[in-house]
Subunit: 368 residues, 3 copies
Amino acid sequence: MENAIADANMPWPVNAWYVACTPDEIDGKPLGRRICDQPMVFFRGQDGAIGALEDFCPHRGAPLSLGFVRDGTLVCGYHGLAAQCSGRVANMPGQRVGGFPPIRSFPVVERYGFVWVWPGDPALADAASLPHLEWAESPDWAFGGGRFHIACDYRLMIDNLMDLTHETYVHASSIGQKEIDEAPVRTRATADEVVTSRIMDGVRPPPFWQMALRGAGLPDDQVVDRWQICRFSMPAHVMIEVGVALAGQGGYDAPDAVKASSIVVDFMTPETATSHHYFWGMARRFAVTDTALTDSIRAGQHKIFSEDLEMLERQQRNLLDYPGRRLLLLNIDAGGARSRMMIDKAIAAETSVNAHPVRINASSATAP
Amino acid sequence: MENAIADANMPWPVNAWYVACTPDEIDGKPLGRRICDQPMVFFRGQDGAIGALEDFCPHRGAPLSLGFVRDGTLVCGYHGLAAQCSGRVANMPGQRVGGFPPIRSFPVVERYGFVWVWPGDPALADAASLPHLEWAESPDWAFGGGRFHIACDYRLMIDNLMDLTHETYVHASSIGQKEIDEAPVRTRATADEVVTSRIMDGVRPPPFWQMALRGAGLPDDQVVDRWQICRFSMPAHVMIEVGVALAGQGGYDAPDAVKASSIVVDFMTPETATSHHYFWGMARRFAVTDTALTDSIRAGQHKIFSEDLEMLERQQRNLLDYPGRRLLLLNIDAGGARSRMMIDKAIAAETSVNAHPVRINASSATAP
Amino acid sequence: MENAIADANMPWPVNAWYVACTPDEIDGKPLGRRICDQPMVFFRGQDGAIGALEDFCPHRGAPLSLGFVRDGTLVCGYHGLAAQCSGRVANMPGQRVGGFPPIRSFPVVERYGFVWVWPGDPALADAASLPHLEWAESPDWAFGGGRFHIACDYRLMIDNLMDLTHETYVHASSIGQKEIDEAPVRTRATADEVVTSRIMDGVRPPPFWQMALRGAGLPDDQVVDRWQICRFSMPAHVMIEVGVALAGQGGYDAPDAVKASSIVVDFMTPETATSHHYFWGMARRFAVTDTALTDSIRAGQHKIFSEDLEMLERQQRNLLDYPGRRLLLLNIDAGGARSRMMIDKAIAAETSVNAHPVRINASSATAP
């Protein structure tokens, strides 16, 4: 394993927990996934523990993710080198492996229905710094979600989610409505969070929310008060409180019985500088046992986020075409802009030699 | 908008009218197309006017071509910025747009059934410098055509069209015949035009011309006099007078009643240094009301130009493999060679600081 | 034709015979194939002779492989330049070709059912240095084979073939068995050959060998002695003697009547630094007239080598991701390592100016 300074050109902090995958993705077989530009392999090892290793067999460089799991070890599919979750080589046919160097391992935690990985310095990894996600643990909530691979910088998705004005245009047939455009946004930032909120009182619910109202046992043909409160937190999480209440009952603060509210869950995990894994979903506090509703919402979100996908990938290609072009910065962009400032600050802190003089980075391996 | 010197490495002049699209391509929706390595969006705006703008929303860099037209403005499909044909921002939800910088617009003219764009300095654009195309305006002529995207330098297509020797090999089953090889070519150049001509007297008409003779109400089984007169003009137009007359009646100068003659129309529009948009067609002065014949000719040309396409794309890849290789320059290559000289001269004039001290070029945007 | 020093960065010797194609590939039409990073065209010319030329028409740079063969010459499909096997331009419509420069030609030999090409200095080419392949000429042998294009450095395939430990993992359902892992390998090298051998006495025959035993008229349900003797020779040939004999009859040295033995034939021909053409097959000395068995074996090998293909291509991508990573070198890797030493020595000898002061290399053409 090599020590190296973090690559200052990579637009993400590495000393942070990112969502790597969902547990079903490593059910019975290893999973290869590039995260923060590092090829990783995830697998379920001894006693249910999870291993997160560099996806590179130290023997001949084959991807370990092409192998299989046997007796809690990850076995390389080329010549049989078997590794433990820790990265230690457990055995290899015909070889004494005591002197084999360990495979680089990454700190990994399974929580909230996700597998989280720490791509940076293992000494700094602390599961206590994971976010607290009440909706993932409380029986008062239901959750459904999915994953997309998107060929754009993960920060373009943060911009997207921190400015929902685009719903009017990109999602005109589902959640968009002209009142979004018309309602002003308010953005505020704390040390840990950037919050952009928009309140639309006395509007007609668009189709997605009509479905949600019916799911909550409420009429879908009445005027409602609607809200969107987008919360960014490090490294790339956006939780959006969204909902509608029958008009005049208090809006966001209305009693549960007259509203349908939920949290749009968004975890962005950088793959490369121009692509990311997007874990999305919706957590709701109504009709939590209605699994058919969970499926309907998931299908609705899948369609909605597919619409974002094309726009974001084309935007990325356009930005690559005009690398030096200065963009407009409007009031509606404040949420994304403040979030990026928080990210930039974290990257700067990591790359400061005084803050963390020596860090581990596989992509800067010493040459033989 | 930024001022910059033209990129001397680009193998085309920018102060010229290029065919951008046909009007049907912007019927009801915007069209994104890269021309002279600049992403452009074309749309039908107020009162039937056409807008040609940089395909880059100044707000967040989304391609404007993913948007839609509303009230004669082009509306960005991401957050709703709406632009006029002039590039001026007309409105945006929740924004005062008075101070917004205009989007770069390109001079554009609709004429002869095509939309023409001027990628260079708008101050130099003059619709009077468009070519005069009699066949496009006179009721004595009929026209049919199409478009290909071809992954080669547009100048390889000019070479191709200015030396029809290749018809014997590439188009053996339609318009090729051995007499093409055997007849000498003559090339001459004026200030505005390069002309390569070949006369083949007393030959059998190949299949394509048999079809044309039948279309013109003439026998298809007799000996004919055949001609090909290729005319290159700036920036990348090749009009080829082609035809056959019953033998001994005067050939090119024979009376209309004993000949089938037409103009092969070719407009090449550079996309990148190694790709172009190829607008092709045929204008004819016989059986002009026979739309079935127009369709047959279009289908025949489509097949013929498809044959060129593979050869040209493979030639391009070969040339990229051997960047420094000197090619032969034969008498049959004179038409292409003279045309390239005319192009090179125009490029040199543009990049000369004395001639045009300051020019606009979006690809050299100043960094923020 | 230009003289130039060999490119020291290319990981292969050029003064060597490589398999270019099989004769059926040039049956009636030319074949374009990149070998040692040089585009070549192969065709059957006058009196059955074979031509191997640079796949680049000196006229306009079109690939000659898009043309056709006429009267023993290769005719360019663009404008009709016709070349002889020697590279001399034979004729071109309307041209006097006496002064045309010859097209670069490569020494080529047809032998053993393959076409062999010498990408380097023609003055050093000697058909006598071709390997002697008894199985290709003797009626006591039968042969069947095929070809793959594989997107990896040809040396990764040499590693693969010189260490059959991978059969246990990559080919578990056909030729793999755990005893391969358990049996030690022995590697030895001479001036001309690297040999890695493994003997497995008293084992159950895996499915592929059960089929072979039945083909040889032997029982498939008995214990056998199995052997694998891998022989690397320059530039990139690996012949593997493989077989099984009924147990206790002498193994490799047992009488023909109680064994099924064959030679796995592998010729690797570099295409680029990260891809190669892989010619594979099996020569056997039993049931040589049984063409159905030849087909079965070919189908079995096709499936087996397809399994290698994915692993090798993914290994290649991983190695490109970690260019400076040092790999482990175990006892099982000795065969590949010694083979690479032999290759490196040959490359060093070629690039030494004293050894061969001037060499021909098309990719270093002088600029015009």
